[in-house]
Point group: C2
Chain length 249, copies 2
DNA sequence: CAGTGGTCTAGACCACTGA
DNA sequence: CAGTGGTCTAGACCACTGA
């Protein structure tokens, strides 16, 4: 028998989030074991003194995360898997490295305003001739080159980026702090490619080494396009991890 | 003013799914336009004669799909984007090609039972020495080689696969029809690599051509590991597309 | 059959945004 | 302030599973 969950009804955090966090914690601590059933929703209702809809909202979250599996007519069980954490969703390079236990930094190659070419304008939903901020950085992990990143943002909204130091800071941190802008949704494509001479030199590998090429368009909460990024990752040092859930029906 | 939604309370389909499908349809048909607010939840309640929780369950689904964006204190708006369909979730090769308007087929290289090596056993959660089905196929799109796939499944559960014709059929179709097994969750890693001589010949490209290497472990609804796949995609013909949503908080 | 999850109701109060 | 989405209650009935 595991310790019962405790709720703090005075806390600002919604009850269903407190429950989700609590159950997630018990799973991660091994108090609820993979493959084994968790208490029924009605048991949680009694134990916690909340309504069943609240319990379900909490468990829904864990089901979406892949930690729980519901079985109609039977019980809800802890998913058999150890799912790689942070595998869902998307992250900035800085966050990505941090989640792998590495420290991110940058060598700034370019930071300037320029007129968008047709491809970039289309990716950012801008008109022809509109200006963008161009940021080119070699991204380092524990001081070693990991990726080469070319990033474009609309100048009209993000012009003040030109005054920021982007060698140590996460771009996403700056967007949040200085522009109150939170990236929320990304459309991404991944392909394999070979590095040309210049790219290879900047990444410290041989010409024609393989690389992962990721292109991403990112939107903020209101759905505005904020960023078009193209990143070349060294194939010998980088592997992209994620978890996918099958779509309905 | 768009046509009001119609619900069929006799239908087996849950009301919240009917509402979600209806609103999704209005968005796709352009009756609800990108960037514009949709009716408030209370308006739907009146219009449809359902409770607000039901309306919210429907809209929750569309928010998770990235079609809607909620704004606390303001209204809920249609997301600015045209998100690539089928970009979330994961698909079998056959489904993937179909979603791109291509016809999938296979050239079967191997279909046999063998003893799992340590790596495959670990991926499938089997003990050392347990048997697996090994399926190796060149995957074709409209008759042209697109990918080279090595797939392993536990022999104990899927031994009857040896009797199936896997040149035209989707493996996932067979799993569903013959084994009542539905793949639901996949843990995937993507990296870039170069093809060796034999792989290149099977894909009809030059040696040392770049390729995307995807490794996937797949689970069914109860969370059992059912499949470990390794797929090499030709870099010149294949690009992986997906949509990511930012996590938590 | 008892127990489970799946859906739904008809309310309530809150926090937030903009006029 | 009125109107929005965010959370929550205390029930109800259903479909499904396994004994």
């Amino acid at each position: 028998m595991s310790n019962p969950l405790r709720l703090n009804k005075r806390d600002h955090k919604p009850l269903f989030k407190q429950i989700a966090d609590g159950v997630r914690g018990q799973i991660e601590a091994g108090q609820l074991k993979a493959g084994e059933p968790i208490p029924s929703e009605r048991e949680y209702v009694e134990q916690l003194g909340v309504s069943r809809m609240t319990v379900r909202a909490a468990l829904d979250e864990l089901v979406r995360e892949g930690l729980l599996v519901r079985q109609h007519g039977r019980s809800t069980v802890v998913a058999g898997a150890r799912i790689h954490k942070n595998a869902l969703g998307f992250m900035s390079f800085t966050e990505d490295m941090r989640s792998r236990g590495l420290e991110a930094s940058s060598r700034l190659l370019r930071l300037e305003a320029e007129v968008a070419d047709a491809a970039v304008a289309a990716q950012l939903g801008l008109g022809v001739g509109e200006r963008v901020i161009r940021i080119e950085r070699v991204r380092l992990a524990n001081g070693e080159p990991m990726a080469l990143e070319r990033c474009f943002l609309p100048h009209a909204r993000f012009g003040r980026l030109l005054e920021e130091d982007l060698t140590q800071q996460s771009l996403y941190d700056v967007l949040e702090r200085r522009f109150d802008c939170r990236p929320m949704l990304a459309e991404e494509s991944i392909e394999a490619t070979l590095l040309d001479t210049q790219e290879a030199r900047q990444l410290g590998v041989a010409r024609n080494s393989p690389a992962l090429l990721a292109r991403r368009s990112t939107r903020d909460e209101p759905g505005q396009l904020i960023e078009a990024v193209q990143t070349l990752y060294r194939a010998d040092r980088y592997r992209m991890l994620f978890v996918r859930r099958r779509q309905g029906q």
